[in-house]
């Protein structure tokens, strides 16, 4: 039990760190990757919380498809405020 507790705390720290990076990093591609990392870590936490169904959805949609959609959109809006 305590192993999972430690693991959860570490994962939450990673999640908070990548969420902060998604907000404040200058490079837009890096922020998109960081946002995908938030979803990936969230899906691991769902798995620890015994919700494999939700974890699969989060991993496939949150960190897979939405990241790619952000990249497609990023390609369209190039030349905006931050290039």
């Amino acid at each position: 039990m305590s192993f999972f507790l430690v693991l959860t705390v570490v994962l939450c720290a990673v999640m908070l760190g990548s969420a902060g990076m998604a907000l404040y990093h200058k490079n837009l591609a890096a922020t998109v990757i960081a946002a995908g990392l938030v979803s990936l870590v969230a899906s691991i936490i769902y798995l620890i919380l015994a919700a494999p169904d939700v974890a699969m959805t989060e991993a496939a949609i949150g960190s897979g498809l939405s990241t790619v959609m952000f990249f497609y959109v990023l390609k369209r809006v190039r030349g905006g405020e931050n290039g």
Partner: protein
């Protein structure tokens, strides 16, 4: 400065509200009434080994239909706002050739990804997974196909066809439940069968397969629209 103060005030307000929830949380010893009904009666009534699936597809089937409809609306709106290129424009653009590694990897991986997606939604009543998860996995397979071959623009008719047919069949099975079983989207229009086998739980595997195909087609359609959109759209 004022902006930052407002943001901090809003954050503090949200933290205050959430703290109320956190402070009043106690671990429950027993399930609430509705959950207890699902947990005790669910396996006997519907024959689905995965309790989450029996709630998502049958007990709360109408909500799932609503979710699929929301996804459909989103895909339609994206299609409405992004004009696709004409064939000549697509040819004039002439994107860079994709690498050999990507080609070979996609040819090897995409069939496996499709089969895994189909496994996830066909076995949704036995193991974790189901229509939404399997559909998303299938959509990531089509995404790989799009990445490997950015020039080809076929497949849109197939995507639309799969989406329409599975959507109509989903609602049709739901209506059949009114006449043959106890209500809209009731899964007992087919025999419930032996608990824990692939042909069990009545119509749940069929409904979940249709949801999987529909979600996969919708997400693929969104990716297709984004890939094929005009530069200035």
């Amino acid at each position: 400065m004022v902006k930052k103060l407002v943001a901090i005030a809003i954050l503090a307000g949200i933290a205050f509200m959430l703290y109320g929830l956190f402070a009043s949380y106690t671990q429950k010893e027993t399930l609430p009434k509705t959950s207890r009904y699902y947990a005790i009666k669910g396996p006997d009534e519907l024959g689905s080994a995965n309790l989450v699936t029996s709630v998502v597809v049958t007990y709360r089937g109408l909500d799932t239909l609503g979710e699929v409809t929301i996804l459909f609306t989103v895909a339609s709106i994206i299609g409405f706002f992004l004009r696709s290129r004409t064939k000549r424009e697509a040819r004039a653009e002439n994107p860079r050739e994709t690498s050999e590694i990507l080609h070979t990897g996609v040819a090897f991986l995409v069939p496996i990804i499709f089969v895994f997606g189909a496994y996830v939604f066909i076995g949704g009543h036995l193991s974790p997974g189901g229509g939404f998860q399997g559909g998303a996995i299938i959509a990531s397979g089509t995404l790989l196909l799009f990445l490997a071959q950015p020039k080809t623009s076929g497949g849109h008719t197939l995507i639309t066809f799969v989406e329409s047919v599975s959507g109509i069949a989903y609602v049709g099975i739901g209506i059949a439940g009114i006449f043959l079983a106890n209500g809209f989207l009731d899964n007992r229009i087919l025999p419930v069968g032996e608990f824990g086998t692939i042909f069990s739980a009545g119509a749940i595997p069929i409904i979940y397969s249709l949801i999987g195909l529909k979600v996969g087609a919708e997400l693929s359609a969104i990716l297709y629209k984004l890939k094929d959109a005009k530069e200035d759209a």
